[in-house]
């Protein structure tokens, strides 16, 4: 039988990672409040479902955006025919405006630099094809999104070299770490073409501060390598400090703009992963030109361009949406982290994203990745939560897990928290002498639980806003 390609038969698709195994476990036994109350709750998928009613209301009130409504059908033919890889001008303008608003209008985006792609997945692959040849490399700070192993490497033949970041300084990207990674690449005879940062970070949920960003821009200019800023979570920053984009930094420091490229998408900020709206925004004309030609392989459906153009041109809606989305994410994040802290689970202090970086190091039998996998299997099979183990994000320290909180309704969240609480009680009973356990109560009560189960290693033992209405309601 004649072979097919190495790419097709190899495992560069990266789906053998536990990140995806957890999804499979969920898919074979998905939680449903009525039909399957003992099923696995999906906490491994970073989706934003909190603002849906807000968006639905707008869609119902604007039938002209849906193309196949009585109001929109007169645009059907011209839209169905539109396959120009430049994209609809109104789509690009609306997206450029939205990107600016998400950055507080501190910076303006040029619609002519907006290139479409098949989601951020397609955008990343496209950027890799434009910037690097097979065998060349990108530096990527750890921990990083597991999909990068596929998106940046699989069909491109490009290598990834990790920039190791550590919990001891909250996973900050230091100059030393960047230099160490660059040297490592050199030793392995890999030509480094660029550095990819995700800001806000997946999986950390943190943003890069101004000084770190300036340091990064300085680094890439010195090494004359590209900087790719994945900013797909830009509108999910729900709390201070404010998000700072690379697009702002390059206005403040000296920089060769030909090295700067942004990857964006509407999948996280708007919660539209199904519509496949990915964007490459490059300050390099040759890259814009090349990417535009490559976008033929993953154009955004014109039907979707029409919807998005109409929706994002509605300034009132966009302004309200951005505010509402932050508010919902803030509330959910706070409730979730507070509830976890009450049972002794801490997480990295975060202000963005659709997940938290949960610290379960103290639950490991030993400080190894095997122990992390054992714990993970317990969480999936016994606690019935699909959370994502840190090793799948290439975290260099075992015991961290990414847990998504924005992809479920309030009731499911309560069920998830109850399961975690029950699990922690069992765990603590196992740790503590028997007579003390009889006094343990399963009810979630604020003041008592926090004292009994506060852990030494928790990074965020207290609510960032002690006087929140949620706290007041419980005590």
């Amino acid at each position: 039988m004649v072979a097919i390609s190495k790419i097709a038969t190899g495992n560069g698709h990266g789906e053998d990672s536990p990140y995806f195994d957890g999804w499979k476990a969920y898919e074979t036994n998905p939680f449903h409040p009525i039909d399957r109350p003992d099923g696995v709750i999906q906490m491994g998928l970073a989706e934003n479902q909190l603002c849906f009613n807000f968006i639905k209301k707008w869609v119902m009130e604007h039938p002209e955006a849906s193309l196949c409504s009585a109001e929109g059908v007169n645009k059907f033919e011209e839209t169905a025919l539109f396959q120009d890889y430049h994209g609809m001008p109104e789509f690009r303008e609306a997206v450029a405006k939205f990107m600016g608003k998400v950055r507080g209008d501190r910076v303006k985006f040029d619609p002519d630099r907006i290139v479409m792609s098949g989601g951020a997945t397609g955008a990343h692959e496209m950027v890799a094809f434009c910037l690097a040849d097979p065998g060349e490399a990108f530096l990527v700070p750890t921990p990083y999104y597991p999909g990068f192993d596929r998106d940046l490497r699989w069909r491109t033949g490009v290598e990834l070299v990790p920039v190791v970041c550590e919990s001891s300084n909250n996973f900050k990207i230091t100059r030393a770490a960047l230099e160490a990674a660059y040297e490592k690449a050199k030793e392995a005879n890999l030509r480094v073409k660029g550095l990819l940062i995700t800001n806000p970070s997946n999986p950390l949920g943190t943003i890069l501060d101004r000084d770190t960003l300036k340091g990064i821009v300085k680094f890439i200019n010195e090494k004359n390598i590209h900087l790719i800023g994945d900013e797909i979570y830009a509108a999910t920053v729900f709390m201070e400090p404010e998000f700072v984009s690379i697009s702002e930094i390059i206005e403040e420091v000296e920089c060769n703009r030909g090295l700067i490229h942004i990857v964006y998408s509407l999948s996280k900020d708007m919660g539209f992963p199904g519509f496949r709206v990915g964007i490459v925004y490059s300050y390099n004309d040759a890259v814009v030109s090349c990417a535009r030609k490559m976008s033929s392989f993953g154009l955004v459906s014109s039907q979707t361009q029409h919807l998005i153009a109409t929706m994002l041109s509605d300034d009132d809606f966009v302004d309200s949406f951005i505010v509402e989305s932050k508010e919902q994410l803030f509330k959910r994040h706070k409730y979730f982290t507070l509830s976890l802290s009450q049972v002794g689970i801490g997480s990295l202090k975060s202000n963005a994203g659709l997940f938290i970086w949960m610290d379960l190091r103290k639950l490991l039998k030993e400080k190894t990745f095997d122990a992390e996998m054992d714990l993970w299997r317990v969480i999936i099979n016994e606690v019935k939560l699909n959370v994502s183990p840190g090793s799948s994000f290439h975290c260099d320290e075992p015991g961290w897990f990414r847990v998504c909180f924005a992809n479920m309704d309030d009731n499911t969240m309560e069920v998830a928290l109850l399961r975690i609480t029950t699990f922690m009680h069992k765990h603590n009973e196992a740790m503590v002498p028997r007579k003390l356990c009889r006094r343990a109560s399963l009810k979630l009560s604020l003041s008592r639980r926090r004292d009994d189960f506060m852990s030494q290693n928790m990074m965020s033992p207290h609510s960032p806003i002690p006087q929140s209405p949620l706290v007041r309601a419980r005590t």
């Binding site: 097709a8 030609k293 993953g298």
Partner: protein, 468 residues
């Protein structure tokens, strides 16, 4: 600084095929606003049957505003990103594909992989079947986009299988063998042969004989066959369409090795005239190929919004039957209008029964039997006559003088204008006695500049030119 892919020109956009589009865009014809502009006859689009789809949409309120049974499905669609695709959509697609083939072939939705247009489907399939440096055989003339879709990012080579007008450009066993040997001499490992059936640019369906040759060849050489059947729904005349799978079934090859080496590419861009919606697909009986291409489809999924809309359109069987019949009728009529219009000017077309274009024989209008003469004629057609037709050389035709002329992407009125212009041109040329390379006053300076830049580039090609 950038990758070699970004700096080279294997994106294929320097082809006259695309340059013609550019010239059109700088001076597009409009009956009222720009009656002397260039008429676009280089874009194979089907605009003849939109009214049918629009009237269906108006009659089906449930699809409007993305409602199903009164409840908005917007939310579910917005989150649906499963690369397996909407099951209901794939079920409808396989039924539709079977219908086009007269239900002689049955398709399994689990073997169907969605992609962002046939552009993406073809590239993905090549990524799955061949390694960089390996080769695919391609009968000429072939669609210029293949130079980009099959080669650019995959690093795979194309080796042309030369076909000639002397036998109506039919694929012969001899031509296949000759191409294979040429590949061997170049040290290129051939992994497969890609055919377009119905053919772009010929507008013909493959005969049983040709399909048998291909299958025999694929068995003998142990290679894959990719059949790009994007125009399968545009067959408007006899002989009917025979899909590669039907030909293989006729030879009882379902349980043999070659069955898992036959792959089909399809799309809704040509049949249903919906190129903007980016709906492409791969069909394969090879589980490994289905598995790998499904994962790769992450790079170009079909928007769930679009999947939902089209599921509903295709689910209406009465509508699809009516559409197919009416569409074919209109295509046939329009093609006949083009053929007879050209005949009045003494220009013949290859006899065709499918597609959105004709393969037009303008060899007698060449000043000499050379590529240069074809290019000169093309310049005149675009800039003087104001018709963007596509020169055979851009399709890698081995004989100069053939042009692809599209007929389904314009109104009747516009086609009439085009026919009149050709008639005038031919009469003028006959009067002058021979064709001269002559820039007329009405040619814009931009067109002139673009053309001369392009000609200059062609005459001193530098495939390794540095990044711009």
């Amino acid at each position: 600084m950038l990758s070699s892919k970004a700096s080279c020109n294997s994106h294929g956009q320097d082809s006259s095929y695309f340059l013609g589009w550019q010239l059109y865009e700088n001076n597009p014809f409009h009956e009222v606003e720009n009656p002397t502009g260039i008429i676009q006859m280089g874009l194979a689009e089907n605009q003849l049957s939109f009214d049918l789809v629009e009237s269906w949409l108006r009659k089906n309120p449930d699809v409007m505003e993305l409602k199903k049974g009164g409840e908005s499905v917007f939310r579910e669609l917005a989150f649906f990103q499963d690369y397996h695709g909407l099951p209901t959509f794939k079920n409808e697609l396989v039924e539709y594909m079977a219908k086009i083939r007269g239900n002689k072939v049955k398709f399994d939705p689990n073997n169907l992989v969605l992609a962002a247009g046939a552009t993406s489907a073809n590239e993905t399939l090549i990524f799955c079947l061949a390694d960089p440096g390996e080769a695919i055989l391609l009968p000429t003339p072939y669609y210029p986009g293949f130079d980009r879709d099959l080669k650019w990012r995959t690093g795979v080579e194309i080796v042309p299988v030369h076909c000639w007008s002397s036998n109506g450009f039919r694929i012969t066993m001899f031509a296949l063998e000759e191409a294979y040997e040429r590949a061997q001499k170049l040290n290129l490992k051939v992994k497969g042969v890609l055919i377009t059936n119905p053919s772009n640019p010929l507008g013909t369906t493959m005969t049983k004989e040709e399909l048998d040759h291909l299958i025999t060849f694929a068995v003998a050489k142990n290679i894959h066959v990719i059949s790009d059947e994007v125009f399968s729904g545009t067959v408007f005349d006899s002989p009917g369409f025979i899909s590669i799978l039907e030909a293989a079934m006729d030879r009882n090859l379902e349980n043999t090795d070659v069955w898992s080496r036959i792959h089909i590419v399809y799309s809704l861009s040509k049949d249903l005239g919906l190129p903007g919606f980016r709906v492409g697909m791969i069909y394969s009986n090879n589980k490994t190929v289905v598995g790998a291409s499904t994962k790769m489809s992450s790079f170009g999924l079909v928007s769930s919004q679009t999947q939902y809309l089209l599921t509903n359109v295709l689910a209406s069987k009465r509508f699809t039957s009516k559409y197919m019949k009416e569409n074919q009728k209109r295509l046939k009529k329009r093609k006949e209008m083009l053929v007879s219009g050209l005949k009045k000017s003494g220009i013949e077309c290859l006899k065709s029964n499918a597609g959105l274009f004709c393969w037009v024989d303008m060899r007698h209008l060449l000043s000499s039997n050379t590529l240069e003469a074809e290019t000169k004629l093309w310049n005149q057609m675009v800039c003087d006559v104001g018709l963007n037709i596509s020169p055979g050389s851009s399709f890698h035709c081995s004989e100069p003088g053939w042009f692809r002329v599209c007929f389904a992407n314009m109104s009747r009125g516009t086609l009439q204008v085009a026919m009149r212009r050709i008639k005038d041109f031919v009469e003028r040329s006959n009067f002058m006695g021979r064709i001269k390379m002559n820039y007329q006053q009405n040619m814009s300076s931009l067109s002139r500049k673009l053309l001369s830049n392009w000609v200059r580039k062609l005459s001193s090609p530098d495939p390794n030119e540095h990044e711009r």
